[in-house]
């Protein structure tokens, strides 16, 4: 009897499918449907008969939640487990489910601080900093910042995130027997720390650039200290209200932004 094996093209298809892993996210199963969709090419290869395929698909439709960028590692590692099971090893449904969860939970716990909390804001900040450092329209040509700033954001984020996505399934499949070693080798905590520092560094640069752009020497600021204070007042007021609002209602930047906008418009109209 020939051994059932997952092929390289199956791993490539699974990698492409992990890009859609959150499409049918539900509170009951989280990424469960996405996981089943991603691992399906391997299941098809391993279970040619309909009955076994049905059981495997149902098994992999169970609750699954991890970081979407790192989901490929779990998909690849689970495919390897399924392969062993298909070849007669005594691995039951509960064992596969427990294995998935044992990988998914630490990957979520390490991935969220890196990708959502530090890297995503940092990538956006790099794009914003690009507005100041990149040249605008001039004798050398048109204003290319509209193209270069988003490119900077995309490059910053994907330089870190894309390798995890592209090689996740293959590495997960290859390291399925050594999950602890796999988690350690990703060095996600170290990445988080480094990116968090870079974010604070970038914020300092942004503050300095905003302060420099105020251009206190310009005549529009007036010559006396009183008019300078009057000119700085809306900036400081906006910052104080924004900070207080976000501290009181964390994660409601939209509402706080709209509130500041409305308050400033009303105040400006009455003065």
């Amino acid at each position: 009897m020939t051994e059932a094996r997952v092929r390289g093209d199956d791993l490539a298809t699974m990698t492409s499918r992990t890009l859609q892993i959150q499409a049918l996210l539900t509170p009951e199963r989280m990424q469960g449907m996405g996981f089943a969709f991603a691992i399906l090419p391997a299941l098809r290869r391993l279970y040619p008969d309909k009955e076994h395929l049905a059981r495997a698909l149902s098994r992999n439709l169970a609750y699954f939640a991890t970081h979407p960028i790192l989901a490929g590692f779990v998909v690849g590692a689970t495919a390897r487990r399924e392969e062993r099971r298909a070849n007669g090893e005594p691995i039951d449904d509960a064992e596969i489910d427990a294995y998935k969860r044992s990988l998914a939970s630490p990957l979520a716990a390490l991935g969220d601080p890196l990708f959502w909390v530090t890297l995503r804001p940092f990538a956006g900040l790099v794009g914003i900093l690009g507005i100041t450092f990149l040249p605008g329209a001039g004798f050398i040509g048109p204003d290319l910042r509209v193209l270069l700033c988003p490119l900077l954001t995309l490059l910053t984020y994907n330089a870190v995130a894309l390798p995890f996505r592209l090689f996740g399934v293959a590495r997960g499949y290859a390291s399925a027997d050594r999950p602890g070693e796999l988690l350690k080798s990703l060095r996600l905590a170290e990445w988080s720390q480094a990116v968090a520092r870079a974010g604070a560094l970038g914020y300092g640069a942004l503050l300095a650039l905003v302060a420099l752009s105020l251009d206190f020497g310009s005549s529009r600021w007036g010559v006396d200290g009183r008019s300078r204070v009057a000119s700085l007042t809306p900036l400081v007021l906006g910052a104080v209200i924004g900070y207080a609002g976000l501290r009181r209602w964390p994660g409601r930047g939209v509402e706080v932004g709209l509130g500041v906008l409305a308050a400033a418009a009303v105040f400006a109209a009455t003065v």
């Binding site: 995130a161 604070a200 905003v210 400006a268």
Partner: protein, 251 residues
């Protein structure tokens, strides 16, 4: 305007896919969405310069205001993906049609303000619209279980691709409808503001918004992080030194 709105819709759909389906390639960040919309929209040759500048301002401010460093589960459901696109579409298309009604634009600052306001409102509305997709996903789960139990792998795949297509459609329709609604509202409101739009008032509101955006960025990059102030100080020093060097080197 029809080709432009089609481009806005396609861009909105693609960015919603990036955010909702799990591509997570950062295309759905407001600065990227706003700038891409700026590239795709062409309000006419006389407005080309502003069509390239206004999206950068809209994108940068929305990026700071909409960046939430908390985990997705702890966030309110806002559609940050299409906010930049809608904000830019309203600002750029409105600029080309209403420049006579708003003679004082303060170097494009008025259109940036309008774009940011439209983007923020669109983020709230888009969050409600995406609830439709989430509700449908729950209904799809029962069907997926039925198909899986029957070993109907191909039908399960169709169901899943249908969900992906639904995300694109919902995002595209929302980006299109929100841009049109925003533009219509602007066409009605802005001419009535007339004399109220002075350079001083526009500058005041823009400065307040920049202040709020900096506060939001502080929450995202500095608050609660160990030794962050050292890195902030270092970043500020490096930026000042670089600016001095660049200014001296400039002809």
């Amino acid at each position: 305007m029809l080709p432009e709105m089609v481009r806005v819709a396609i861009l909105g759909g693609a960015l919603t896919l990036d955010r909702t389906a799990g591509w997570s390639l950062m295309l759905s960040q407001p600065i990227v969405g706003a700038c891409l919309a700026g590239i795709l929209l062409s309000p006419g040759p006389e407005w080309e310069l502003w069509a390239l500048r206004v999206p950068i301002g809209v994108g940068a401010l929305l990026q700071m205001l909409l960046t939430d460093a908390s985990l997705p589960a702890a966030q309110r459901q806002h559609d940050t993906a299409t906010a930049g696109v809608v904000g830019t579409a309203v600002a750029v298309l409105g600029m080309a049609r209403l420049h006579e009604a708003a003679t004082v634009a303060l170097g494009g600052a008025l259109w940036v303000l309008i774009g940011v306001a439209a983007g923020l409102i669109s983020a709230v509305g888009g969050g409600w619209v995406l609830r439709f997709h989430r509700a449908r996903s729950r209904a799809d789960l029962a069907r997926a279980e039925h198909l899986a139990a029957g070993g109907q792998a191909r039908a399960f795949e169709f169901l899943y691709w249908g969900g992906v297509l639904r995300i694109f459609t919902v995002g595209a329709l929302w980006a299109w409808a929100a841009s049109l609604l925003g533009l219509a509202a602007l066409l009605v409101i802005l001419p009535r503001l007339g004399d109220m739009l002075t350079a001083r008032r526009i500058g005041f509101v823009l400065a307040a918004l920049i202040g709020a955006a900096l506060a939001a960025a502080y929450r995202a990059h500095v608050a609660g992080r160990k030794q962050a102030f050292r890195w902030v100080a270092l970043g500020a020093t490096v930026a000042v030194v670089l600016c001095v060097v660049f200014r001296r080197a400039a002809p």
